[in-house]
């Protein structure tokens, strides 16, 4: 009876932990989308909203940390359960950084001049869409404890990387032909790089989901692509 009570309390704690991560991930996903819109339209209000939301994301991470530590201290989980709590701690840390990248993109938004003249700008939202789908799907994989889906997301990161390489070359050509756009172009390259990093971080989360579900590691990039 006492043990049943403990198991139920642990399950409730874990459900709450997973709920907080879902909430945090949802906010990060919204932030990426809004940061893109702020960037392409030069909408400063939207950019400010993304910057403000990042504080909420940070607060959620701190709440997840506290809850995870309390679960470990009070429930002393073993094996799979402990692995799940540790994975939640690490995933919260990575989602927090995804929020930071969205904030960085929102901050860049105000530094871009001559949006109309900068055709390669249209490539960035397409790249962001893939990265956002990775963030979305990795949270679904986490909620469903789906190791197979997690492995698929890891493979998808190669697309984001290839997109990034192509954007880089495209931007450099454009900047060479239009030296007046160099300053804005360099800022946009950072945006592209931030999106590439969001893809990397979604990949990290996918690896953690895989680890939490199976106890095994998806190791090398080389291996991953074939996974």
């Amino acid at each position: 009876m006492a043990q049943e009570h403990t198991v139920k309390a642990f399950d409730e704690d874990i459900t709450r932990l997973r709920g907080l991560i879902a909430e945090m991930g949802g906010l990060a996903e919204v932030s990426i989308g809004e940061a893109m819109e702020a960037l392409t339209k030069g909408n400063q209000d939207l950019a400010n909203g993304v910057i403000a939301r990042d504080k909420r994301i940070d607060a959620l991470e701190a709440e997840i940390d506290r809850l995870a530590i309390r679960i470990i201290a009070l429930r002393a989980p073993m094996a799979d359960d402990l692995r799940e709590v540790i994975a939640a701690l690490k995933i919260a840390g990575v989602v927090e950084r995804i929020g930071d990248y969205a904030k960085n993109i929102a901050k860049t938004s105000g530094k871009i001049e001559g949006r109309r003249q900068f055709e390669p700008l249209t490539l960035i939202p397409a790249m962001a869409e893939i990265a956002t789908s990775m963030v979305h799907d990795v949270l679904t994989a986490y909620a469903a404890r789906d190791a197979k889906m997690a492995a698929e997301i890891v493979a998808r990161d190669d697309k984001v990387d290839a997109f990034y390489e192509s954007i880089f070359r495209n931007f450099v050509s454009h900047m060479m032909e239009n030296p007046a756009t160099i300053s804005s172009g360099a800022q946009l390259l950072f945006v592209a790089r931030n999106i590439e990093r969001i893809g990397d971080h979604a990949t990290n989360v996918a690896e953690m989901v895989y680890y939490a579900a199976t106890g095994g590691y998806l190791t090398d990039k080389e291996d991953r692509a074939g996974a």
Copy 2:
């Protein structure tokens, strides 16, 4: 007697955990220095060494994760002790990313053409020196559980950020005057950004050291600067 035995075993585990983090941090520090030398001199062998070392850094993180989980599972640490193990887990994650930034810089090294013509290149090692000193000092603060030193490191990050802003402007001017250097210049801007991120991550570690030592948070950037 049994309790004394447990305390001793826990202390040994924690000492081993701290030793692994010191080793990992030391490797990351060496990697930043060598990545800078590879970059400024165009030394591909050195760059390859940094790229190879990153696998060792990743392996150390996995080892720290496993040990931390084992400590929690076997010793069921409470309060301060648990906070210390959790901090070690998180610090290892951040040091791993510092290693990644050094690897990124090393990879960029082969993409830079016309080093001699690129005077702003000389600014980057100076910026890297501050970031490296932050990484070095934060590991010292961690080893010494020195909250005051950790707060000082957080304040130092503003210098790295200011340096970065100045490098950005300098590079953009140089690229406008010499459009042929745009491709290399954009790569060097990424290097500068990577160093700026290393400073941010050293700051994150400093916050965790502060947390592990005091249980409190160094929160806002605004607050930090005055800390």
